[in-house]
Symmetry: C2
Subunit: 355 residues, 2 copies
């Protein structure tokens, strides 16, 4: 029934990722014997309602906006109250349909209600399908504190239905591909050769993209199964993220996440080359793929004071040094601590100038 | 250094329960190298401040009232905001000092902050020391929904300092002993013989009581390690609780928890005898110990409508039958489903009349 299946072993439980065309139909089947409570991105509900006529028959239907403001403890409380008023029990299912923000809000609610309710996740963005849906990480905001509340809580089941990708904007696809490139670079030569060869097809052909979504989850699975609680080894998944996040913040989120990660990997690789960890040839080879995923004419992060202030707010800055994920070759991505000094900031500039 | 030590294996991590006289001194040692954030029952802070002069030097000192109103998501939010304003990091320690309510609020906060912060628990009531401190269960209220938010989250370390018991009222000791009797009955003949012999000493001599606290945790540990997430086997720890909770509710919490559990075990055993699961001799033998722990002249739960309404709100009522933990002998405590009908309610009455 499912085209592909991936099984993820979590500390909490084992769960399946099922790749199913028109996977939303699975929820309709569940409806006959279970109470279903849906938390859905209101935009997705609009765009895909023709595929989900059964939405009229669920016990709870909660539509939320996928905004940073709504990724908040107050939203979680409101949803939890609605579900309790609707008489939710331990045997019911919460079905979460949306991208990363809806995932965060839904997972947090499902975790804290009655010590954990079963929840099924249908990721609708490429970023959520190829990356965030597995690995159990959940983060939400409270007051002015961004992502400071969080838990680890995996779904009971994930259904990847690539028809959701059809209604995404091109930039959202490009953004998701940033994370696909990241894990393929972490994985090694064979996987990187594949993305080198198929990059253009990936963007234009969803049947090709689907295989890369699957492979990305397969690579990520190996890492999160070893270190689900992100104690050390899993840090390599932050490749491109430290610089990526700082660029997202520097541009006040004008740069989408996966594109920030692409730029972040480029900067990490440039620093790696300057420190003698990789040759110029290797850097250029990787760059020739990643650059296709950065749809900008030029980059500019020249305000050192502003940039260093942002970098020092990173939770991977210990007061003295910043943990950066650098590149010692394709498939050899490692963590290293570096001071945030002028030399370091100059290297970031140099890359932007060369861009 | 510690008089006794118990190691509990949790799905999340392994943690120690250290029995240390004047164990509060451990926190002072930690202070020299760590940021410490204390969440403490305000009554305990008053009564034991002479033993904790270092409270003036902690990074956060949050005193809360141990009331059902404060065991709430809003309290958790307020504490979390204070800790974030005080710059709490993943490397800091939250130290929770109090009974079950403070444990619930502290554990919930420690779990959802930054995906889990280390927390040390110093239980100050007998109920918390002999029972709730291990096993990871956490429950809090939201609006009118009692205990409907919850998680599983064990402490990083537990320090049992029996000097906290000195300032408890007699009734709080009696209440705690209810849970001690429960696990010793679950355990078997040898353990039950010990409580039969030592019951009076336990109440009057804290050095004797300390051994029973240790043994109670040892018995509970075996059960929670097998079924931390309370899927099935762990249900036997609810022995006495279904009826106990209903009596607490019936009397609007005039009956303390552990005394409710004692009455609940008596009712469960009476029903077990009437169903032919145990002989009258066995029931009487158990009763002769438990009755000492019920400081009432008479019992009266004759309003069947009210009692059955309360029992039907129990989360162990599936709409048709109630899961009750019954007794098939000392050390043979098992789960059985029973309808809440007149026959069932009459048995509860019969016990109360006979009391």
């Amino acid at each position: 029934m499912s085209d592909f299946k991936l099984i993820v072993k979590s500390i909490f439980r084992q769960y399946d990722v099922d790749f199913i065309d028109n996977g939303v139909a699975i929820i309709e089947e569940l409806l006959s014997e279970n109470h279903i409570h849906v938390i859905i991105d209101e935009k997705v509900a609009d765009l895909h309602q023709h595929r989900m006529p059964w939405l009229d028959r669920v016990t709870s239907l909660i539509k939320i906006e996928a905004t940073e403001q709504d990724k908040d403890i107050n939203t979680v409380q409101k949803i939890a109250e609605t579900l309790l008023r609707n008489g939710i029990t331990k045997n019911d299912f919460i079905v979460v349909i949306g991208g990363g923000i809806i995932q965060d809000v839904g997972a947090f609610t499902a975790n804290i209600l009655k010590r954990g309710i079963n929840w099924i996740f249908l990721p609708t963005t490429l970023l959520a399908q190829c990356d965030s849906c597995i690995g159990s990480k959940v983060g939400i905001n409270m007051s002015n504190f961004k992502n400071q509340l969080g838990i680890f809580w995996p779904p009971t089941r994930i259904i990847v239905d690539i028809e959701f990708l059809v209604t995404l904007e091109k930039l959202e696809i490009v953004s998701g591909i940033g994370e696909i490139l990241k894990v393929h670079l972490i994985s090694g030569e064979d996987d990187f050769k594949n993305v080198e060869r198929d990059f253009d097809k990936m963007i234009s052909d969803f049947s090709v993209l689907k295989n890369y979504i699957y492979r990305s989850l397969e690579i990520k699975r190996r890492i999160v199964e070893k270190d689900e609680f992100d104690v050390d080894y899993r840090h390599i998944l932050n490749y491109g993220h430290t610089f990526g996040h700082s660029i997202e913040a520097y541009t006040k989120n004008a740069v989408p996440h996966g594109i920030g990660v692409s730029i972040g990997m480029e900067i990490a690789n440039y620093i790696s080359m300057k420190k003698g960890y990789i040759s110029e040839a290797v850097r250029k080879r990787i760059s020739s793929v990643i650059r296709k995923n950065i749809p900008y004419e030029k980059l500019d992060y020249r305000d050192h004071e502003r940039l260093s202030r942002i970098l020092k707010q990173d939770k991977k800055f210990d007061g003295h040094k910043l943990s950066v994920i650098i590149c010692r070759g394709i498939g050899n991505i490692v963590q290293e601590k570096m001071p945030i000094d002028e030399e370091f900031l100059n290297l970031i500039d140099e890359y932007a100038e060369m861009f």
